[in-house]
């Protein structure tokens, strides 16, 4: 870990952008990505010709960096197409920091776009295709509704072991919506009560449709450069203090303990690299594909003891006005979720540390944790970010 400690704060996020959140009929994945990428590069005060590193991933195309490089007209010396599901764009951080440190490249663009909501090739078609190109012969015959049923199984176990309730799960969705109501870019902003969540259509017990993330269109991108170079660029740099990624299983049936994710490892490793602990963090962006996620990650990342996530969220702690602001953009539950959400969690963390949060700004935030999750509680990647004061 000592060499990783040497990377603490060595790179900074200097440009971020999102585009087309919600409904963007007539746009392709690539067009949403390209608009986001150009806006993020411009936000960084750079030109696309300055970009010599590229990280990207797609839920559909297995060689996605190739068309992205072609479309954007890049000639990158550093390319990372690692696809771990929704956590990918947070997992791209540490290798990119190493590439910048080694001199392999100097400005890395991380970008994503998905027209999942309005595309003619919808989730149903993608799901059917995946059965052939990425088979799970020991799960598919039982007809789980993946990914929802995998998270429902985890929720059932958490409820069984710790007494977590559907009401507490609902409180996660209610808190996310309360944050979304402060964010003009959020997709769902109507008031939401615990009762609304409990009465909404059941999808895979105990998870109702309001326990599940949105399906939206959207793109997101960020630019990473060395801490040294960041000083000469226009926006307030947000430094990467720690990042780590962990995978313990792919299938939910191969997960040893459904109440403990590999976020325990990614979180501990990221905190070790940053030389920090949970109580040092001012704002959290946790990948809330389902309400149980927020509870699991609060526990596994060390913000409350294992099994106490339910009472923790019930106390109002994570909602606007609570002591620990979580998912300040409204999260995947109420802001945006175009197939993979990780990059949007990271972008919101950057905006908070820049002080660009508007009505939802966490006053004085200097440290943030962005956590990505991929597939069915399969991959976990934790990033710890800070302002110049934290270096």
């Amino acid at each position: 870990m000592s060499t990783l400690r040497g990377l603490r704060g060595s790179a900074a996020i200097v440009g971020v952008a999102t585009f087309g959140n919600g409904l963007s009929p007539g746009f392709t994945d690539m067009e949403l990505l390209a608009r986001s990428a150009h806006a993020a590069v411009e936000d960084a005060g750079l030109r696309m010709s300055d970009i010599d590193g590229l990280c990207t991933a797609s839920g559909g195309a297995s060689m996605w960096p190739l068309p992205v490089i072609e479309y954007l007209g890049l000639n990158p010396r550093y390319i990372d197409g690692t696809m771990l599901g929704g956590s990918s764009f947070i997992a791209h951080l540490l290798p990119a920091m190493q590439a910048i440190r080694s001199g392999q490249c100097s400005a890395v663009l991380v970008c994503y776009g998905s027209a999942q909501r309005t595309s003619t090739v919808g989730r149903r078609e993608m799901g059917q295709l995946r059965r052939f190109v990425d088979p799970q012969p020991y799960e598919y015959p039982y007809e789980p509704m993946l990914p929802a049923s995998a998270y429902a199984l985890a929720a059932s176990r958490h409820m069984h072991e710790f007494g977590t309730t559907r009401e507490q799960l609902a409180d996660v969705a209610v808190a996310a919506r309360a944050w979304a109501r402060l964010n003009p870019d959020a997709f769902m902003r109507a008031p939401l009560t615990r009762e609304d969540v409990l009465k909404s259509r059941m999808v895979s017990e105990p998870l109702s449709v309001r326990d599940c993330c949105l399906v939206t269109d959207g793109g997101g991108a960020y630019v990473l450069v060395s801490a040294e170079r960041a000083k000469s660029l226009p926006k307030k740099p947000v430094y990467v203090l720690g990042n780590a990624t962990a995978v313990w299983n792919r299938q939910i049936s191969s997960m040893r303990d459904l109440t403990a994710t590999s976020a325990k490892q990614s979180g501990a490793d990221a905190f070790a690299m940053a030389g920090m602990k949970p109580s040092d963090i001012d704002v959290l962006e946790l990948y809330d594909a389902f309400t149980i996620n927020t509870i699991l990650f609060l526990e596994d990342l060390g913000f409350c003891p294992k099994g106490e996530g339910g009472p923790f969220v019930e106390s109002g702690m994570i909602a606007p006005g609570g002591k620990l602001p979580v998912n300040t953009n409204g999260g995947g539950l109420s802001c945006t979720h175009p197939g993979m959400y990780g990059i949007f969690a990271l972008i919101e963390a950057v905006r908070q540390l820049r002080g660009e949060g508007g009505d939802r700004q966490v006053i004085g935030a200097m440290t943030a944790l962005a956590h990505g999750n991929g597939s069915t509680l399969s991959s976990q990647s934790t990033a710890i970010l800070g302002t110049a004061e934290t270096l």
Partner: protein
Amino acid sequence: MTESQGVEAFHQLELNTGRFLIQRCTGCGKHVYYPREACPHCDSTSLDWISPKGGGTVYAVTTVRRKPAEGGDINVSLVDLDEGVRLMGRIDNLAPGAVSIGQRVNARVQVKDGKGLVLFDAVDGGAL
């Protein structure tokens, strides 16, 4: 088994004749499921096939809610076999919403259109 096919094909062919087999590692003694070419615990490539006793306990449970036209509600469970391995399955002799964590179950093989699938039946005594 022969050396000319992978363990996935062998396991399925046995299921298709009504036989449910799991692996046991001769290196570390642990049971392995789903079938692997090498033990994920100790990396030994020496794995025997055994017939599990069939008893198990429901570890986690969900009911997938579907419209009748899409097949109706269906139970999806994770079952821990007494041999110590976990697998996805369906508790077939209870209504979908009536399955509880801790329920004792027995495995059986359903062969339909020539294809075998492991299913589970709840046994008397209910949830532990």
